[in-house]
Amino acid sequence: MLARLGPPAAIAAVILLAPLLFQSGYHFRIGALVWINALAVIGLNVLMGLAGQVSLGHAGFFGIGAYAAAVLPARYGLHPLAATAAGAVLCAAVAFTVGRPILRLKGHYLAVATLGLGMLVAMVLTNEVWLTGGPDGMPAPRPDLGGWRISGPETWYWISGTVLVLGVLLAQNLRISPAGLALGALHDSEVAAGTLGVDVARSKLVAFVVSAVYGSVAGSMLAFLNGHVTPDRAGFLQSIEFVTMAVLGGLGSMIGSVAGAAVLVVIPQVLTFFHEYEHLMLGVLVILIMVLLPSGVVPALSSLLARRRKE
């Protein structure tokens, strides 16, 4: 019981306590960005950490979610929250149709296929100027819920935090459910899972659709937080950043995904003190973490703490 509710409770605690240290809207915005990125990375973690299927195109769904939140209200008068749901449904549909052929591939071939998928999405968002406003992006509406205008980093800090805790809880439930066990099984041995009655292709597809929906909802929230969306949110650099967050934090660990998101959102803000050495320092940091903590920040620290407690 505790293993299931541990992570969501721990993350909820951090979300509640962190604002005590915040001094300005800027810190709330950084917090909101961490929770939004973490939600997308949790979805990627279900696909990569649980089901073992690599994806270098996760930002494609992140981009679709962001643009759904911007385009649907602007062109079709849909309420922003309905637009978020529509974006999630659209991403699920795209993942479902494209997923079946793509997920027959394995390893590097799957990586390049998903990379291509993400780049296709980014290209459409860049070139279809009539719909998306082109490379300079377009404004996203500020949703209102019964007269209450939802805007400002502080509001979005709490909303994205709540959605993240919900997302972690659902992911944890999935992980320990029969469906989650099946995903973990096909991660270790597709052949064995098949002979035990697991429809491997369908299970992978389910994990792909779930990760797409997580990415889409996170994208929509970023659009509302920023009030503006640009195609580079769907680009391959964003996809690679998500994968780096998932691996840095620890594949398979939900708290790891949140920690990974925190590292790659917060640290660059701190590194601005180094001005032109900023990128160099980030690169050194990524290498150090991966060399010293190869299983990821959280799993490595957990086992370190567990081992010390045993002595």
């Binding site: 469906a179 973990g184 899972a193 098949g194 002979t195 035990l196 429809d199 389910v206």
Partner: protein, 258 residues
């Protein structure tokens, strides 16, 4: 009643005929063993029966219905399960979870249901855990239930794989060299387990090199050589058949008789 009919099965990997014209039937409730020198095509035959290799020729019928070329998960659903020559356990999971995956067909495995945990989920989980624990206990592994499967001893992993296959409630269980790499004590333990399974009405098909084990438990024995069926009959008859000795030990010994 014949549980499994295999007719004229042929499989070739790029011109090499791994199996050629293989036909036999397995009667319900018996232990059917397949023996033969290395490279005879035993594992390929198991792969055909469990949907991992598609035969280029021939038909497989299970409980009367045609199943040739069906994918592994559909064959598992109608009651065919197996273990593997090179262990395919799930190392990162606990032994208990390995067996719980075996119960995949008996459980409600919708992802949405898993995420939303509707009422009754906890109870179903408890049932699944308890049943899995019983199966572990049956193969004498209740004490390692919560240990990661990857860290267990080889002999224990072998039995875990059997328990996991049993969890899917098979009518026909294919065991690919269950005693390989086991010491005499572990082999005796597997011997007792096979007979117990037979008593519980599970039909077993065995690929095994340990002649003492094979001759001890089998009701029927099939000898496979270079992808073809050499002979298929009672264990005693097979043991005395000169062609079998020749196939195993080479022609020089055949004349002398066993």
């Amino acid at each position: 009643m014949n549980l499994l009919q295999v007719e004229d099965i042929a499989v070739s990997f790029g011109g090499v005929r791994a199996l050629d014209g293989v036909g036999f039937t397995i009667a319900e409730g018996l232990i059917f063993s397949i023996i033969g020198p290395n490279g005879a095509g035993k594992t390929t035959l198991f792969n055909v029966l469990t949907g991992l290799n598609r035969p280029s020729h021939g038909r497989v019928r299970f409980r009367g219905s045609e199943v040739t070329g069906a994918p592994p998960h559909r064959l598992a659903a109608i009651g065919i399960s197996r273990t593997f020559q090179n262990l395919q356990i799930f190392p990162r999971m606990t032994a208990l979870d390995n067996v719980r995956v075996g119960r995949h067909l008996q459980e409600r495995t919708g992802a949405l249901r898993g995420m939303l945990r509707p009422p009754g989920t906890a109870a179903a989980e408890e049932l699944s855990r308890r049943t899995a624990l019983e199966l572990l206990d049956r193969v004498g592994l209740a004490n390692v239930a919560d240990k990661p499967a990857g860290g267990l001893a080889y002999g224990i992993m072998k039995r875990l794989e059997i328990a996991r296959a049993l969890a899917s409630g098979p009518k026909l269980l294919l065991l690919d060299e269950p005693a390989a790499g086991c010491n005499p004590a572990e082999t005796a333990e597997i011997d007792r387990l096979l007979l117990a399974l037979k008593r519980d009405g599970v039909t077993l098909a065995l690929v095994e090199h340990d002649m003492k084990l094979v001759m001890g438990v089998s009701d029927r024995v099939l000898v496979l050589v270079e992808g073809k069926v050499l002979v298929e009959s009672e264990p005693q008859a097979v043991r005395l058949d000169s062609r079998v000795v020749e196939a195993y030990l080479g022609s020089a010994h055949a004349g002398g008789g066993a």
